[in-house]
């Protein structure tokens, strides 16, 4: 440890310019496709919610049937946007915010290429009807080798660099490491097992839910929490409070995120102890989440930063943490059997998922982008108005979407519990909520469109700027520059 920290200390200030330019290509290689996937996901989600308004809309085309576009929307959000953003956060962490050079930028480009290739084939496969209906494991077989190779290519490298430049007792590095390691471990195990013909029966169900919640909490959730801890010192000038508590929360997160998925199986064909493990884990995760949230809010209150300028990153981060706490609490309370009896399999659970995915993961990753892109590109975001519009549209969109689904889910659950009401009438009573949810879905799409335009504007401006300034605009040249001392 000693000799590594010595050799890493020296170039902190020396190679800033080179360091930033070595970061540019990998970060853009992750961000630009991710923005495209964000678009794809929101368009698919909007189509899905329009189909709930009228199921005959685009009805005769098999590729766009509700059962295919709705998983495709979630999958493209998680794998197209979430995971690249997580890797982006790790890139930012291992270069200490662009102060250290990043070795091997080319690998990231190759990995990003492979990843997007695999994902395009995968999402197309889902739309074409090649999926096995396994929630987050739903990508078809032929897309898996490319995705796995891409992930290992960049994550293996990143783990090595992260460990080499380890920062003692940094919560950000811990959470990022958890995300980096959990995804290939569990994803690889799950993918291999699903293709073993001797694996069948209910074990497939428990495999599916072990992976689902693990991916959300231990994979992407850990990435987003790492990004939060990474960004906090930049906004407040100090890290999150209660570091010791945070370490406890981290270990609780490591241990119980793996077990939380079973909570979905309340009443399902599984032994009681498995379900109880899941329910208890959700509660322990809630306690850990509140501990992390406490560190965040205490730090935020202790240092009333900001002030002069409307900082988009800070607003996104705060909204993300708020959604995180609400989603973690709902995730625990709703699986209690006394509640689960009413709300299980209703859209209230979708509301919780929406809060977690779009509210927590999405907003935290936007905070990351708003903060790091200006520094990577050497140019600030061109318009505060567009950033504000993005924030307002997405925060209202997410709040209303989750609110409508939550209230609708309560009605649905109470009606479902009454055996006298036929299921057909239950769904009819839910329709007003589902139909009005198309409006916030539209707002979300608009928010992501605004973000995409803003990003495009930033890229064009910085490109023009660089071409004027120096001839380092070509990515290859930038990387050569990073290599030669």
């Amino acid at each position: 440890m000693a000799e590594t920290s010595e050799c890493e200390e020296t170039p902190v200030r020396a190679g800033t310019r080179d360091a930033v330019s070595s970061l540019r290509v990998p970060v853009l290689g992750l961000v630009v496709p991710a923005a495209v996937w964000l678009w794809v996901a929101s368009i698919l989600a909007l189509l899905g919610s329009l189909k709930l308004v009228d199921p005959r809309f685009l009805g005769t085309w098999g590729w766009l049937t509700f059962g295919r576009i709705s998983p495709a929307a979630f999958l493209s959000f998680v794998y197209g946007f979430g995971i690249p953003m997580g890797l982006c956060a790790v890139l930012w962490a291992v270069t200490k915010g662009g102060r250290l050079p990043l070795p091997g930028g080319r690998w990231f480009l190759a990995s990003s290429f492979l990843w997007n290739l695999g994902l395009w084939s995968g999402i197309t496969g889902v739309l074409a009807g090649e999926s096995r209906s396994l929630s987050w494991l739903g990508l078809p077989t032929f897309s898996l080798p490319s995705l796995g190779m891409a992930y290992l290519l960049s994550a293996g490298w990143l783990v090595a660099v992260l460990v080499r430049r380890w920062e003692e007792s940094s919560l950000a590095s811990r959470f990022l490491l958890l995300g980096l390691v959990w995804i290939p471990w569990a994803g690889g195990a799950a993918a291999l097992w699903l293709h073993d013909p001797s694996v069948r029966g209910v074990a497939i169900g428990s495999l599916e839910w072990w992976f689902n919640d693990g991916l959300l909490y231990a994979g992407l959730g850990a990435f987003a929490l790492g990004a939060m801890h990474l960004l906090l010192p930049g906004f407040l000038g100090r890290p999150a409070s209660f570091a010791g508590l945070g370490r406890w929360a981290f270990w609780a997160w490591v241990l119980f995120a793996n077990l939380a998925g079973m909570a979905h199986l309340v009443g399902g064909p599984f032994p009681l102890w498995m379900v109880s493990t899941g329910v208890s884990s959700r509660f322990l995760l809630w306690a850990a989440a509140v501990a992390i949230g406490l560190g965040f809010w205490a730090a935020a209150r202790g240092a009333p930063a900001e002030g002069k300028q409307w900082d988009p990153g800070w607003h996104f981060l705060r909204f993300g943490m708020g959604s995180f706490l609400v989603a973690a609490g709902l995730g625990a309370v709703l699986v209690l059997p006394a509640w689960s009896r009413y709300v299980h399999y209703t859209v209230l659970e979708e509301a919780q998922l929406t809060l977690f995915l779009y509210g927590f993961l999405g907003m935290t990753f936007f905070a990351l982008l708003y903060t790091i892109l200006p520094r990577v590109l050497g140019r600030s975001w061109p318009s505060v108005g567009l950033a504000k519009a993005h924030f307002l549209l997405s925060s209202y969109g997410i709040s209303f979407l989750a609110g409508l689904l939550a209230v609708g889910g309560l009605f649905q659950g109470v009606a479902l519990d009454n055996a006298e009401v036929p299921i057909h009438e239950v769904i009819l009573s839910l329709l007003p909520f589902l139909r009005s949810a198309a409006a916030p879905a539209m707002a979300l799409l608009a928010a992501h469109a605004v973000f995409g335009l803003h990003l495009l504007w930033l890229l064009v401006e910085s490109g023009a700027n660089r071409r004027e300034g120096e001839k380092a605009a070509l990515p290859g040249v930038a990387m050569e520059g990073a290599r030669t001392p």
């Binding site: 199921p55 009805g59 005769t60 085309w61 098999g62 049937t65 509700f66 059962g67 998983p71 009807g129 096995r132 209906s133 396994l134 783990v159 460990v163 003692e168 490491l177 958890l178 390691v181 959990w182 569990a186 097992w193 694996v199 069948r200 029966g201 209910v202 074990a203 497939i204 169900g205 428990s206 495999l207 599916e208 693990g214 231990a218 270990w251 490591v254 793996n258 077990l259 998925g261 079973m262 009443g267 399902g268 064909p269 599984f270 498995m274 493990t277 059997p337 009896r341 299980h344 399999y345 209703t346 659970e349 519990d417 055996a419 299921i423 057909h424 769904i427 009819l428 329709l431 589902l434």
Partner: protein, 195 residues
């Protein structure tokens, strides 16, 4: 041992613990093998169609016990579903959301093949105002030569076709319906007894 190594080890072990408790042990303890067997032939193909078209987005295949919901009171099953009833299946769509009825035992409740064909072609002829999409792409429009084929759908009103054509289910629709008919989650022992 340095801190990152300790962390790495901890993460790997915790993930492994979750995997072995919740994936590996259930596989060895709760299945497979036993009487009853997996759906085969057309029903097995239909299971893949069921998964591919995302039926599990709106339908579950779980009957919860009487103290955890109205599933039994609604007649979705006589008892809660238990692991042996899923023993051999490769596709276990337990489901996430109920925008439609539970299908764990739909093959017991509805036994008319033609009812399923009509439902999948246009659910609104059976349940007006239903949210269920139409699966017309699982059907083919073929010329009518002589008398209609036995499986041709009886279409009337706005759905009626130009004269000289009929609508018949494609192999995908036939497989899907065979799968739905095969969904009778009775304990293996009872299945043996009825044969």
């Amino acid at each position: 041992m340095t801190e990152p190594k300790r962390l790495l080890l901890g993460i790997l072990l915790a993930t492994g613990a979750g995997w072995s408790l919740l994936v590996w042990m259930p596989l060895t303890k709760l299945g497979p093998a036993g009487p009853g067997g997996a759906p085969f032939g057309r029903a097995a193909v239909g299971g893949r169609i069921y998964a591919a078209n995302g039926c599990a987005s709106c339908h579950t295949q779980v009957v919860r016990p009487a103290n955890l919901g109205s599933d039994i009171a609604r007649g979705w099953g006589a008892r809660r579903t238990t692991p042996p009833e899923y023993r051999e299946e490769h596709i276990v769509p337990l489901g996430v959301l109920r925008l439609g009825p539970d299908l764990a035992n739909v093959g017991e409740r509805r036994t008319d093949v033609r009812w399923y064909y009509r439902l999948l072609y246009d659910p609104r002829t059976i349940f007006p105002g239903s949210l269920m999409p139409s699966y017309r792409y699982l059907y083919a429009r073929v010329p009518l030569l002589g008398t209609p084929l036995p499986d041709a759908l009886p279409l009337a009103g706005r759905a009626a076709l130009a004269p000289g054509f009929q609508v018949v289910p494609r192999p995908e629709a036939r497989a899907l319906v065979a799968y739905l008919l095969s969904l009778q989650r009775v304990p293996p022992a009872e299945a043996d007894q009825s044969q």
